[in-house]
Every structure is written in C-alpha cells, then in structure tokens.
C-alpha cells in the first residue's frame, strides 16, 4: 500500500516522451517544466533519480541539492519515503522543489521502496537509484549515462568517497568471493589518488548510487525486497549479469557517501541475522544448481570456521549469524524458490563466465587477515583487551577480585598436568572418542554398553560431539576443558547467583571464590567423577533459576522464561548426571524448609513447583533417553547411584571425600559462612539462613545414608557436597557483604569486627588448602590410567572382537559399573579399555545379569571355570583395579574377588602395574564367532541355564567373524544380548535366529559364505533423534525470544533503579548498598 503526498505540481518534467507520473505526487513547489534540451542541443535520455529515504538526517538536503545541481538536464528526482516517522515532504520541497515525493507505509526496505519506481515512473531510460546520504558531483549523472551508452552497460556505478574526507575512497565497484562475500579491493582509509579510476566491469555496484537501465530494471522485477538489508544491490547486479547485461563502474562520476546509518533514528539498524540471511538468499537464488552442490556445504563449513575465529571479537554475532543464515535459508527454501526460478529463467551465461569478476577463496582469508576484517578484528580485540584491562584494573582494586584472580591462576597452575597430559581415564573420565565415533553411537539403534541394549543413548554424547566439533575435533582438549572448566563455570555461576541475591560485586566475588576453592571439584577430579563435576558447574545456575522462578528476585520477568530456562538447564545437567535432576528439587525444597524460619513461603512453594515443572520439561527434552532413565529404577547404579561412601562427620563437613580437603583449611570456609548468621541482619540474614539450610541438606545427603542405612548404594558424595558447597559459598559471600557494612559503620561493636576478621581469615585459610592441592598439577588424580595399561588389548581386536570385564569396588572401576549388592560390581568394555561411548550405560538386561551371576558363583566358590562361563560373552580379559589408576586412590579391598579369580583354572594372570590385577581368559571366544563342525551343532540353544550350559561348552575352537571374509559353515555366535531385532544374512539368504546359551544370539549357517549381521530399528532411531533435535530447537528459540524481552525489561528496571538510587548513593557515599531492593523483596 502506498500513500501519496500531494505536491505543488501535477507533472514531472522530463525528456520526450515526458514521464507520465500517473501515481506520483507533484512536487511541493513548482519546478522546471517540460522536456529539456542539453548543452549544444544534444538530447539527453530521461533519467529519474529514485532517492530512497527513511528517517533521514540533515544529509537528505545535501543529497537533494546535489541532484538539483547536476549538469544533466533530463534528470527528474523522485523521493520515496520508506515509512519515516516524520513526513520528509516539507524538507524535500525546501531542498529541491522540483522533486516528487512518494510515501510508502510501513517499512518495505530499501529494495521495496526503490521498486516504487516501477509503478511511479514511466518512459525513463535510466533510473538512478540513490541513498539519501549520497551527494553526487554535478557531472556524475552525465558521466554515468555516457558510460552506459559507450560500454553498452546496463548498470553503472560511480566512485564513492567519504563525505567528510573526500580523499578517502569507499567504493569503486565490487567483486564477490564464491560465498557472496563482498570485496571492494580498497584498503581501509585508502587515499584516492585516482589509482582505481579506470572504467571496468565489476560484479556489482553499490545501491548507494546506481544507474540502471529502466527496461532492464523492469524486466528483472526491480530489487528483490527479500534481499534487504544489505544484498539488494548484489542481487540486482547478479541477476542482470545472468541475463547477459554488463555492470560497470565509472570512477569519473563521484559521489560523497556519508554512510549515515548511525545517524538515523533508533530502530533502523539492520539486524545482523537479517543481513546474513539476505546474503545467503542471493547465493541460493543466483548460483546454478551444479554450483550450489559444492557452494552450500562449503559455505556452511566456512561460516562455521569464521564463527570460531570471530569468537573473541565483537564480530562473533555476525559470524554466528552467518552460520545461522545458512540453516535458516535451507530450512526455508520455499521462500527462495520463486526468486530463483525467475533469475534462472533469464540465465544467459554460465556461472563460470562470472568467475573472472569474482575473487578466489584465498581472498576471503586474505581479506580477513589484511583488510577491513583484520582491522576490525584487531580493533575489536584491542578494544576488548583495553576495556578488559580497564575493568580488570578497576576490579583489582578490590581484594576479593584480586583473590578471585589469584584463585584462577592457581587453578591453571594446579591443572597444568591435565592440560599437558590430558585427563586420566579414571572413573567416568573415560577418553572421548572422535566426533564420528560419538555420532555413530548417538545414532545407533543398538547401544554397546555391557552386552548391549536397545535403550536410547544419552544426549550428553551429542554435547560431547558438539564440543569436539567446536574444537575442530580436539575431543581430548574438549574433555579437559569440561573437567577444568567446571570449576570456572561453577564459580561464575556462584558469582551470578550471588549477584542476583546480594548484588554487591565484592560479596559475589567472595561467593565465587569460596565456591571455587572448596575441595568438592578437586576430589571429583581425583576420583574421576564427571557427573558430579558437571553438577558442581551447573548447580549455581540451577539455583539461580529456581530462585528466579520462585519469584524471590524482583527482576524476574514472565514465568515462561524462568521455567523454560530451568527445564533446559535441568536437562543439560541431567544429561551429564541423572541425579542432578533431584538436585534441583533438593534446592527448592530446602528453600521451602528454610521458609519456616525466615518466611518467603509462597516464593519457596513457587520454587518447588517450578523445580518440578523444570524436571518435567527436562524429561521431555531428554526424551527418549528419559525412558531409559525410568527403566533404570531397578538399576540405580546406571544412574550413578553406585557408591558406598563411609565418611565420618568431620570428613563430610570438610568436604573430604578424596585426597583434597585434608587438614583444617575447609574449616576456615565453614567459619566464614557461619559468621553470616552472626553478622547479617534483615533480608540478608534470611538468605544466610537459606544458604545454611542448603549446606545442611547437602551434608546430610552425603552423611546420613552411610549412618542410617549402611550398605545402601548412593550417589557419589561430591554431588551432595556440591549442594553444601553452594550454601557455604553464598553464606560466606553474605558475610563479606555484611562485613563491609560493619566496617563502614564506626558505631558498631568491636566484637563484630573481630568476627569479620575471623571470617576473612577463614576464607584465606581455605585458599591455602586450595593452593596446597595445586602442587601436584593434577589435583590428586593419578598420573596414569588403566586404559593406558590396557591399551595393548586394542591391538588384539584383530584376533576377534572381545570384551574386558572390570570387577571390583565401584569407587575405582571405570565408567558406570553394575552394582547389584549381592555380588561384586562390574562393567564391560568392548575391544579395549573403553571410552566415553559407554558412559551412562543402559540399565542392566537379563543378559547382563548372567555376567553378574557368573561373578557371584565364582566369588561363592561354586565354579573353577569362570573363564568358560564368561567365554560366550566374548570376555577375553578380566581386570580387577585395586586403585582408580596407577598410584591413585585405593578402593575397598576386594578379597573375595581376587581370591575367587585366583582359583579359576582358565584365567591366566598377566603382568600388570601394581594396583591392577589382570587375567586373560584362556577359554575365550570372539564376541562374533563361528563354531564349526559338531561343536557348532552342539552349542546350547533355546531356554537353557546360561551358566551351566557355558560351563559344559568349550568354545576355544571358535573362529572370529567379521568384515567381508567368508564364514565357514557352522553356528555363528554373536555375544550381544539376545534381541528379536538382530538379523543375519548368509549366502543363502536370511539365517534362522536362535537363542543361544540362554541369553545370546546365534544363527545356523549351513553354507560357507559372507554373513552380515545387522540390527533393526535404525529408522526409528533417526526419527526419534530428529524429534529430539526439533524439540531442543523449539525450546531454545522460545527461550531466546523471552530472553530478548527480558533483557529489555531488565534494562528498563535497572534504569529505574539507578534513577531511584541516585539520591541515596549521594547520602551514603561510597559505602552505600545497592542490594537492599532485593533483600526487601524477599
């Protein structure tokens, strides 16, 4: 819809034939009328300058005056106003009375507005599309028109220079690289010495000033409005090129370009995502199908890499938007289809003919390194470093911040061996395989944990793969960053939580400091417990979301976003560590209990409700893995509940679940936290009490089960201690926040100052403990791992696939052991010591229980042939770690196990490091094997006792099956849990599937030939995975939209608060507190 503003004249003057301006408004003031004859009687083709404007600044007049001053007599000016807030007509009238004005409602964008010329102008030979901030030299139009005729060019652009510094070049036509990246060939700040003044073909010219043949413009349908912002000129020129037209630059025509986007009224900035999407749309529109085949994947890959490179710069949003633009356009191909059809319909040339106007792939890198991007990047880095150092300098005036920085340095120092040698493969620190391996596991319909299962794989594998991809496949570094970074992330979360609660940076810094130096993460690292470590990192964020969702904080927005955030965060934490789901509920419930003492019950109730809603949301997001988790209710060890910590009260209070925490250092932190109960008042005291409730809950979770129900398997102690640590840290932060107030008030009693001194000393003492633990460089973790010791076994896979049975104390076993209570804990790994693909194992199946029963039988002295009992399952090695790694933490004695294994006739002990007892099963058979002859026919099938049938069967003669090698006639045995989905195809077709040994798969292969074994259900797995991805995308998009709104709302709230606080700040001087709003709200 267009809105017409009536001007002063009824017609538009132009060269013959006159341009009937049927829908255009007459100018406000009378101008020159009728056609014109140029100098020396030359006739001039009519040119209509289409000046698109929107919320123009003072530059509009400059542009119009310059047009009015053109020495081209057949020039008519049409100003198209693209929805300015204020009608520019009066200004146009004053600057150029002969101009026509056409107003367009809404915001059609530059292209859409310029396209108004298609309807408004009739009979013009050329259209001069102009920005409203470009002032052309008086002879520019004449030069461009002349060049258009001379070179038979359809589109001609001028040379553009800076408006305020005309000696600085901006544009003399542009090239693009293969991915549509624009290249001017001009260095930033390059002085115009006529070095680019040759008339030449260019790929495209800027729409800042572009002379385009009117008939072509009409044929092309004008600009593609969808390519706004930023790519409408490229699109038009590219389509013109495809149609066989020339695009040229005529540097003798010059325009002063003010690049005035920043001078317009707010809200007119094009979004980076829109710019990126428009650019990708042009590529998808203009390239041929054949070219797109390689350009699309290349574009996705390159923009991804750029996103990584731009990460530390201010352009990271731009780069991220570029990456997202590909996905957006690929997901909305329908919107491109029509434009593409039109463009390709007019194609007269091959893509290759345009290559000479494009720059090579290296130009993109070169431009980044040496041109505008480089400067921008360096400038960005410089700016950020400068700003960062300023902030740092300011922060370092604060002792708490200095301590935080020192703690960070100590963390790096203490983690040096983890960075240099990698994280040892202890506990659940199993080595991460390559991204491909992770993705294969994620998409596989069959999980290879223990004897296998159809259970859905854990989403954490996707996160691992994502992190590995982000680091260009350096999964080891990704793992180290997750392990070490958890301390940093946890501390950062504690800081944010404290800021939300206490608002004072110093207090928040102390909270972060205390949370970072508690021994919990160090002991988790020493024991190799990834899940509790991730919980430690995410717990402060979860708590913050619980607090926000409960409405304790006055800055909470709508309920949707906190709840959605809580669901997402809970899902993230739970994906890594299933008990984390309960941690959220524990936090909320603790707040509810504390409300009995300090009030805020309604908010606490809301928090509990929100935590439950978050839990449900997380369950939905983690589906179908949620089903797997629910299936684990009879096998809690699969969820990480497999430990039997025997910590006494003192050890629990000192967080000493491992080597860290010994000594008196952690007492200092408790003292600092306890001081909050003595010093704090009012709302701050309420939060001190809540923090202590959290601490008590965390301590109780660890300590009470071992006292009241010894023998009961529980979660790793670091999980509960993380909750306690958060409570202690927040309380300590409150102490420091309060103490500043106490110090500021000279009237306070001296004893309060003594308490403050003791609290500060307590934090310092805790810091010494942290420092002491940093000496080893690996936080007490062993300097090697059993995976390294057993790496030789991987070479044995060539002799047939096999498994390693790990038996012993769950504390020192790798991965997620099976813990039945009646027998020793155990876990199986496949073709080696195992990796992270087998983390978060599937719940035990009946087949898995056979392994457990075999061990129980052996430990009970009821077999001397454990090797035979394990042989059908392909178990070649039995490993009994007594420590979690060479020189690592000692597990509980496994006397029954070691004795039982030593009594076995078919287990041969192998040499191994101290702390690991290793046997080779001399009755072993490959996990995928064929048994030939009468032995094969005699293999037990159907419903039989797995152990008794195995004890009576000698599989030593079984031969491995694998690859494309022909399999001899016999019985093919697959040592994976029996499942109907297994299929085997032989040379004669499908083989008959049968239950073997009562829990495994076998097929009778009547004739020699290749046998392929597969499992059904892959399609369903892909579908579920796709559904999961969609669900996450929806959740993230929904959440991020809320985030934007919340930001605006919070910014407004913060502004109001700043204004409100200003007088008080004056009254209280430097010791004023800006957190009382929150305290009061609670």
């Amino acid at each position: 819809m267009t809105e017409v503003t009536l001007g002063a004249s009824a017609g538009v003057p132009g060269y013959a034939p006159p341009i009937p301006m049927s829908t255009a408004s007459p100018p406000l003031a009378p101008g020159p009328q009728g056609g014109e004859v140029g100098p020396a009687g030359a006739s001039f083709p009519p040119v209509v300058a289409v000046v698109v404007t929107r919320n123009p600044g003072p530059f509009l007049e400059e542009a119009l005056v310059a047009l009015g001053a053109q020495d081209y007599p057949a020039l008519t000016v049409l100003v198209v106003d693209a929805g300015s807030a204020e009608d520019p007509t009066p200004r146009v009238g004053r600057a150029l009375p002969t101009a026509f004005v056409r107003r367009v409602a809404g915001d059609p964008g530059f292209g859409g507005a310029a396209n108004e010329a298609l309807a408004a102008v009739d009979g013009a030979t050329f259209l001069l599309v102009c920005h409203d901030d470009v002032a052309l030299d008086p002879g520019a139009v004449l030069v461009m028109v002349g060049e258009a005729y001379r070179s038979n060019a359809a589109i001609v652009g001028p040379k553009l220079v800076e408006a305020d510094h005309p000696e600085i070049l901006l544009d003399v036509g542009r090239a693009i690289d293969r991915l549509g990246g624009s290249h001017t060939g001009i260095e930033p700040g390059e002085v115009d010495q006529e070095q680019h003044d040759g008339v030449r073909d260019v790929f495209y010219v800027s729409s800042a000033a572009m002379l385009v043949r009117a008939d072509l413009f009409e044929e092309l349908g004008g600009f593609d409005p969808e390519t706004f912002p930023g790519s409408e000129d490229l699109d038009l020129c590219w389509r013109a090129r495809l149609a066989g037209a020339r695009v040229m630059v005529a540097p003798d025509a010059r325009g002063l370009h003010r690049e005035a986007a920043g001078m317009r009224a707010g809200g007119d900035f094009p979004g980076v995502h829109d710019v990126a999407r428009a650019r990708v749309r042009v590529i998808l529109t203009c390239y041929s199908k054949a070219t797109l085949l390689w350009v699309v994947p290349l574009g996705v890959a390159v923009t991804f890499v750029e996103a990584l490179v731009f990460l530390p710069t201010s352009r990271r949003r731009v780069a991220g938007a570029g990456f997202g633009a590909w996905w957006w356009n690929l997901l909305h191909l329908g919107r491109v289809r029509r434009a593409r059809r039109d463009a390709q319909a007019r194609r007269a040339i091959h893509d290759g003919e345009l290559h000479e106007l494009q720059v090579g792939a290296g130009a993109r890198v070169g431009a980044f390194l040496s041109n505008r991007n480089a400067d921008e990047r360096l400038q960005s880095l410089g700016d950020r470093m400068r700003a960062g150092s300023e902030r740092l300098g300011e922060a370092l005036r604060n002792p708490a911040a200095m301590a935080l920085l020192a703690a960070f340095v100590i963390l790096l120092f203490g983690s040096r061996a983890l960075f240099s040698h990698g994280v040892p493969a202890i506990g659940t620190f199993a080595p991460w395989p390559g991204v491909k391996g992770l993705l294969t596991e994620l998409t596989s319909a069959w999980r290879h944990t223990n004897l296998g299962s159809t259970a859905a794989p854990p989403p954490a594998i996707a996160v691992m793969a994502g992190l590995g991809t982000l680091l260009l496949g350096s999964v080891g570094l990704a793992q180290t960053l997750v392990v070490v970074g958890s301390v940093v992330v946890g501390a950062a979360g504690a800081y944010r939580l404290a800021r939300a609660l206490a608002a004072r940076p110093a207090a928040a810094a102390v909270t972060a400091l205390v949370y970072g130096i508690v021994p919990v993460p160090r002991n988790a690292i020493a024991a190799g417990r990834l899940g509790p470590l991730v919980l430690f990192a995410l717990l402060p964020f979860l708590a913050l979301l619980v607090v926000r969702a409960g409405g304790f904080s006055g800055t909470a927005g709508s309920a949707r976003r906190p709840l959605l955030g809580l669901a997402i965060a809970t899902a993230l934490a739970t994906a890594w560590y299933p008990p984390a789901a309960l941690a959220v509920v524990v936090v909320a419930s603790t707040l509810l209990v504390a409300s009995l003492l300090v009030g805020g019950g309604v908010a606490a109730l809301r928090a509990v409700g929100a935590s439950l809603v978050g839990l449900l949301g997380a369950a939905l997001l983690l589906a179908p893995w949620t089903v797997t988790v629910l299936d684990s209710r009879d096998d809690l060890a699969a969820l990480g509940i497999a430990y039997h910590p025997h910590l006494d009260l003192s050890e629990v209070l000192r967080f000493q679940s491992g080597p860290a925490g010994a000594g008196i250092a952690p007492w200092g932190l408790l003292v600092a936290a306890a001081a909050a109960l003595v010093l704090a008042r009012g709302p701050r005291l309420a939060w001190a009490v809540r923090s202590w409730a959290l601490a008590v809950a965390g301590f109780a979770i660890v300590w009470l089960p071992s006292r009241l129900a010894p023998g009961t398997a529980v979660a790793a102690p670091e999980a509960g201690l993380a909750i306690a640590a958060l409570g202690v840290a927040v309380a300590a932060g409150i102490t420091i926040g309060t103490s500043a107030e106490e110090l500021a008030d000279a009237k306070r009693f001296a004893w309060r100052r003594v308490v403050v001194g003791v609290a500060v000393a307590g934090v310092v003492l805790g810091g010494f403990g942290f420092l002491a633990d940093s000496i080893s460089g690996r936080w007490g973790a062993p300097d090697g791992d059993w995976a390294g010791e057993l790496s030789f076994t991987q070479d044995r896979a060539a002799e047939g696939q096999f498994r390693i049975l790990w038996v012993g104390d769950p504390d020192v076993l790798p991965l997620d052991p099976v813990e039945s209570g009646s027998g020793p804990a155990w876990v199986l790994t496949r073709n080696g010591p195992g990796d992270a693909r087998t983390l978060w194992r599937a719940p035990v199946t009946d087949a898995d229980r056979v392994i457990g029963r075999a061990l129980e039988v052996a430990v009970g002295g009821n077999t001397a042939r454990l090797g035979r009992l394990l042989a059908p399952a392909g178990i070649r090695y039995v490993a009994v770690p007594l420590r979690n790694g060479p020189g690592g933490a000692l597990g509980a004695p496994a006397r029954g196990v070691t004795g039982a294994l030593a009594d076995q006739l078919d287990l041969a002990r192998l040499r191994s490091e101290r702390g690991l007892i290793l046997y080779e099963n001399q009755s072993w058979a490959p996990a995928s094997a064929v048994v030939t002859g009468r032995d094969g026919e005699a293999l037990p099938t159907g419903v039989v006792d797995p152990l008794r049938s195995a004890a009576n069967t000698d599989l030593v003669g079984a031969k491995p099956v694998g690859g494309d090698a022909p399999v001899p006639a016999g019985t093919v045995l697959l040592a994976d849990a029996f499942a109907d989905g297994w299929r085997a195809e032989g040379s004669q077709g499908a083989l008959r599937h049968q239950l073997s040994f009562g829990y495994l798969n076998s097929w009778r292969n009547p004739r020699a030939g290749v046998v392929s074994i597969t499992h059904d259900g892959q399609g369903l797995r892909y579908a579920l995975l796709a559904g999961e991805v969609v669900l996450w995308l929806l959740a993230l998009v929904w959440w991020s939209r809320g985030r934007q709104a919340d930001r605006v709302e919070r910014a407004a709230t913060a502004r109001r608060q700043r204004i409100d606080r200003e007088p008080r700040r004056t009254d209280l001087g430097n010791f004023a507190f800006d957190d009382d709003d929150f305290w009061s709200d609670s």
Binding site: G554, G599, P710, R865
Partner: protein, 483 residues
Amino acid sequence: MSDAPRRRVYRGPAIAVLVVLLGGAVVLQQGASSSSDRSNALAGARIGAGGNGPSVPDRAAVDAAWYCAEGTSTPDGRANETVIIGNLARRPITVELTVMAGDGSQKSRRFTVDTLAQRRIEVADIVETAEPGVVVEVFGGQAVVEHEIRGNDDVAVGPCTRQAARRWYFADGSTDRGAQDWLALFNPFGDDAIVDVRFVTDAGVQEPADTQALVVPRHSRVSVAVHDLVRRQPNVAISVVARTGRVVAEQSQRFDGTDARKGIAVSLGLTRGARTWRLPSGNAEFGATQSVSIANFTPRPIQVEVEVVGAGGSAGQPERIDLPADGLTRVDLGSSVSVGTEYSVEVRAVRDVPIVVESFGAWATPSPVIGVASTPGSPMSARRWAFAIGRLDDAGDALISAWNVGSRPITVQLYAYTAGVPDSPTSAPAAAVPPGERVTFSLGERSIRPDQVLVVGADGPIVVGRQVIGGGVSLSPGIPFRG
C-alpha cells in the same frame, strides 16, 4: 517480586536449629561408628568364610574342580594313584579328568558317573607320568573326590581338595632312617607359581636354598624330596608360602620298615592354622602306635592342651605342652589310653594363636594289619559329612567315627548310597550319641559294599573320620557339607 509480606528475621532460632542439628549429628556419628564397625566385621566374616580343607560343593555350584596333588602313574611309581569319584547327586554327572603331566602337557578325559554311584579311575589309564597333577572337574551336581595311593604294600586314601592357596602347612613328617617324606606341589592354573618352603624341625627352622623361590610351572606338579633336604629329623613340619600364584600341597610319607614302620601315608595340607583341632578316629590296640604332631608356625611361643576323650566321653586331665615359636612337638598317645579303647583327641591352643595339628599312626605286628597312616585334624564341625569310598575291598573293613562335639545328645545316621538308585539312601540304624561321645560304624559289619558312596548325617554338629583297614591302613577326615 515476592508477594510475601516483609517480615522480621530472627537470628536465634536459626542458630539454635543449626546447633541442634550439629549436636545430633555428633551423637549419631558416635553411635553409628560402632554399628558400622560391627557390620564391617560381619562382612569380613562372610568374605573369609572359606573352609580349611575340602568341602562338598553347594547344590548351586555350576561346576567344581578337585585337585589331587600327590601320586604317581608309572609302573614303578612310588605312590600309584587312583581317583575315586562319589556322585552325591540324584542324577548322572559329567566328570572331566585332566592329568597335568609335569612338563606342561595335559590330557583330559570325560566320564559320566551314574546317579549316586562311585567311579574309580586309575591315573595311569590316562597318562603315565612320574609327576601327575590331577584335576577332576564335576559338572551338573554334587560329588566328592578322593584318591588312593599305593606303595610299600600299603594303601593311603584321602580326600582331594577344591582349594588352591598361597599357604599350606603340615605338622607331621619324618626323615628318619628308612623314611621318605615327599611334598607334592601342584599348580593347576595358567600362570606360574613361585613358592618358599620352610621346614620346622626339633633342631630349628631350615630353609634350604633349593626350596626358596621354587618355581612350580603352570599346569604342573613338582615333587620335593624332603628327606633329601632335611636329613634325619624325626619330626618335620612344613610350611609352603607362595610368592606368586597358588598351589595345592599334599604330603606322602613312605616307611620301609627299618624302624618297624612300614607303609605309605598321605595327608592333605592345611591352608591355615586354627585354635582348636579334633581327631575323631583313635583305636588303641596291640602293635599300633598313634601320635599327634602339633606345629606352631607363628613367631610367638604358646601353650597347647591335648585332651584325649575315651569311650563314654570320659576325659583325662588335658596335657599342657609348651610350644616355642616356629616350633613343633609330637605327643605319643599310647600312654593316655589303654588297649582296646576307642578315643578321640582334641588339641587346643591356650591363647588365641593358630596352630596346626596332624596325627600319625603305625600298625605293626602283632596288629592284624601292617601299615602307616596320617591325617590332619579337623578344625570344624558340620552336620553332614561324605566319603567317596568306605571299604577298599570286600575283604577289608572301614570304620567311620562320628564325634558329637555339641553340648546336647544327637542322632547320627550313616547313609550308604546304591548306584543308579535315586531313592537311595538306605541308612544304617540311627545311633544316639551323647555330648562329647562318638559312634563308630563298621562298614564290614553292615555289609556296605566298597562301591558305595557314604554320607554321615546328624542333627547336631559332629566331626567325622575314617579308618580304612585291609591291604594296609589309612586314616582320613570326612568331607563336610558347607552350610
């Protein structure tokens, strides 16, 4: 924003609650520590519940391996060996007998043993070798395995064991003139064992270099001629400690009649000491001498009491004997009982120090039988005991003695199974046995055939031993049922 009204927060209650919680935790910690210790102790007891000697496998056993260490299978062997398998299950069982020939080679053969039947297998029928280590694996049911060795016109029968261990002890031995003492070390496992063998004699401890770091290769048996290493010692106790691996140790003693002792005796080693030992089978008769050897392998001197319990449960005054550290003693029982008397012996350490006890007997003219026999004491009692064999032949006899070691009267029954008859057993008449007394069943008198498998059952704790008479003499303990 919270909709809760702003309310005053009191410090006192919060601190009080925290103090109360802390106090409660301290109290609970104190109480829980002791209960935790108890539970740990129980756990330890469960873990350490392995027997000191062979036992009948559980019904739940998937398979059971029996190791027979001593014996030979060559025509001129010093102790040619026959394995005797008694099937206690009411269905046929499969048995795989493997002979490990000492050079690492092994040969196996599978047999089926009928329901409740006995099967005798001469090792020489499988492979002839001077150093056979025999493994008998039983699949599919409960069974007991014994072996019989013959030499010097004597026979010795004793149980094989289901247990390999790092430590083995023998209290009785002699390297007197005319005596040979052979120690058989059998390693049935897949990795080598390295052992140290020490000898405790009246002259002190001897550790010959040849028996230090002695390698017992995998799947092999090694025989140690003790009489060549420890010369002319009337009393020799032996300890075997494995540095790595596990072995089965058994001892045989051959006497050529130089000092009126003639025959062969075999005894399985003991895997650990105990404070109390019982020997249920004792018969004082003309021409027979019996003694009890007691060894202390600890570094502490102790006192032991030897109590001989005669017929009717009458006991004389226990004899108290000082036993030095790493010392041994032999107590002759001839002076304690009169001829024609049946007796049992209990040996106790006065302090809680483990000792090892073994008895030795020699029968010579005017005894109707000639031979020697030895048997380890029994450190445990059980309600049921089994033997794979009773009498060796129809001409001989065997006495099964059951000693009521409980504090109340019990009834003891002897069951002699009939091969292939699932409805077995037929029982000998039940015998009532007062506390402290014993009952002896003569298999000859009850016409129990040599091919019958035996079980002795009672409704209270008993200790059971066997004395085989005919073609020589042999003493051995029964094989208890666990649980």
